[in-house]
């Protein structure tokens, strides 16, 4: 068990290092002169050569890739995300503000997705192949295929523009979160419904179930104690992918609804070529991803210890 945990931690470490290196390398080799972009962001058009040289020296662009990488990584390991290369402000407090908008939205969307998908999948699998089941599958397939930006705009048109019930832009009040949460929650619900449904159907096909019925175990107990755990295994496995899907959707939704969260933070940082901010978001996303996947892996192993047995 300890060995498995150490292995998982090691894997997490490798993923994080890879993510840090990859982001830094990508930004480092991005086309165009980053110093020029920073200068323009700070001082407007027509910057002098001296200013550019100053910025290059300040940002460490002259020292070569590895020096610059270490200069970024070492403070980062101490929790220092550095300063914005555009306005010189510390990145961390702004990042925290952005997170305070994004995390509640992500959690609400996930909760919404679960609250819809679990009952829907349970109802659909009551009679596999019935019109209810087929309708659910069709709806979920369409739901997975609908892009978040399109659904978001549609909801804005309907509820904000046409009906005027809900605000479309900003994040001042809780009502501002309703449309973004619906947009994200819909996508989550659609993909989770499909996964949970097929998980339940697969679990119902387990070869040992008839024996439990013949042994006289109540159907409800069989569903709770045998079908549910088997159905949960594939669902837990894909939750990590679901999270990636959610992070991606968050960026789009925050931009559409003009919410000052991590997505908007990232997009504006990219346009301003504000490397420290971009790197901070990518590293944060990588940490979240790794931590959640670690948790999922542990849950998965407690559900189905055969996995650990095979690994050992």
């Amino acid at each position: 068990m300890i060995g498995i945990f150490a292995g998982l931690l090691l894997r997490a470490l490798v993923v994080l290092t890879g993510a840090a290196l990859a982001t830094f390398a990508l930004l480092w080799h991005a086309p165009g002169d980053p110093a020029l972009a920073i200068a323009e962001a700070r001082y407007g058009q027509n910057v002098s050569k001296e200013v550019l040289d100053f910025i290059r020296a300040e940002a460490g662009f002259d020292d070569g890739f590895w020096t610059a990488f270490w200069a970024w990584l070492v403070p980062l390991l101490k929790g220092d995300f550095g300063q914005s290369s555009v306005n010189g402000r510390d990145v961390w407090p702004d990042l925290v503000t952005a997170m305070s908008y994004t995390f509640p939205l992500a959690l609400v969307s996930l909760a919404l997705g679960l609250a819809v998908s679990v009952p829907l999948a349970l109802i659909a699998t009551r009679k596999p192949g019935s019109w209810l089941d087929r309708g659910t599958v069709a709806l979920a397939s369409v739901g997975v295929a609908i892009p978040a930006f399109w659904l978001g705009l549609l909801l804005i048109l309907l509820f904000a523009v046409q009906l005027g019930w809900l605000p479309a832009m900003g994040a001042e009040t809780a009502t501002h979160s309703i449309l973004p949460a619906l947009t994200l929650g819909f996508g989550v619900a659609a993909s989770l419904t499909r996964i949970i449904r097929s998980g339940i159907l697969e679990a119902r096909g387990q070869p040992f179930l008839p024996a439990f019925i013949r042994r006289g175990v109540a159907r409800r107990d069989i569903a709770r104690d045998h079908v549910a755990p088997h159905a949960a295994v594939p669902v837990v496995t894909v939750l990590g992918l679901e999270l990636a899907f959610l992070l991606e959707g968050l960026v789009v939704v925050e931009v559409i609804f003009a919410r000052p969260g991590l997505g908007s933070f990232l997009v504006s940082a990219i346009f301003a070529r504000d490397f420290p901010k971009v790197q901070a978001v990518v590293i944060l996303a990588a940490v979240i991803f790794v931590v959640v996947n670690l948790a999922i892996d542990l849950i998965y192993r407690s559900l189905d210890p055969r996995v650990s047995e095979r690994d050992a």
């Binding site: 439990f212 013949r214 107990d221 104690d225």
Partner: protein
Amino acid sequence: MTIQAYGLSAELSGHTILYPTNLDFKPGERVGLVGASGSGKSTLGHELVDTLRARGASVAHVPQSPDEALDPLRSMAFHWREAEKALGVAPDHARREMLFKALQIERGDLRKRPWGWSRGMQQRFVIAMALIGTPDLLVMDEPTSALDPVVAAGTMDLLEDYLKDRQTALLLITHDLGLAARRVSRLMVMEAGRIVEDAPTSKFLSAPETQAAKALCAHRNWLELPC
């Protein structure tokens, strides 16, 4: 009271694998069901158990393979508790110890899941679960197929002991005529989804009527096997 089940039949994707069959068992009677692999023995056992259970009779069933009997995600202790609950009996530590000892699985770790036990141990665990209560009929599908001859004989002895002072009837499904001949008083032969012969064991062995029964009896050296 005689247990009767009429018109047992089964189809699989439009193909009949069990033709309408009638069965009856006197209380305490021990019946063997033999036949070639794929002749429909397990199917008949399932239909019989399901029909009787639907009628409210108390039946216990030991599936052919432990994979069909145990949930790989649940501990052995969970299976045992669940079986006791299904029978409506109070947890009885002594009864479990007695059964486990008789089946020589008392050293198995109940906290483990089925795949933490050997197949033969799993099979004996499933047999033990079937013996918790006192059903009217006990259907055992190849109960000794994963057991070595000595343990198999011990298991059958325990079964005899269990049946001795009960009214429980036994349907023993096996392709091992030697095993069946020693333990049952009546033998049925299945062939391609039908029972083609049904006779007292002694008559069956001395004067088999059908081709299928004759083919089985041609291997009478099986009787020398220690079970």
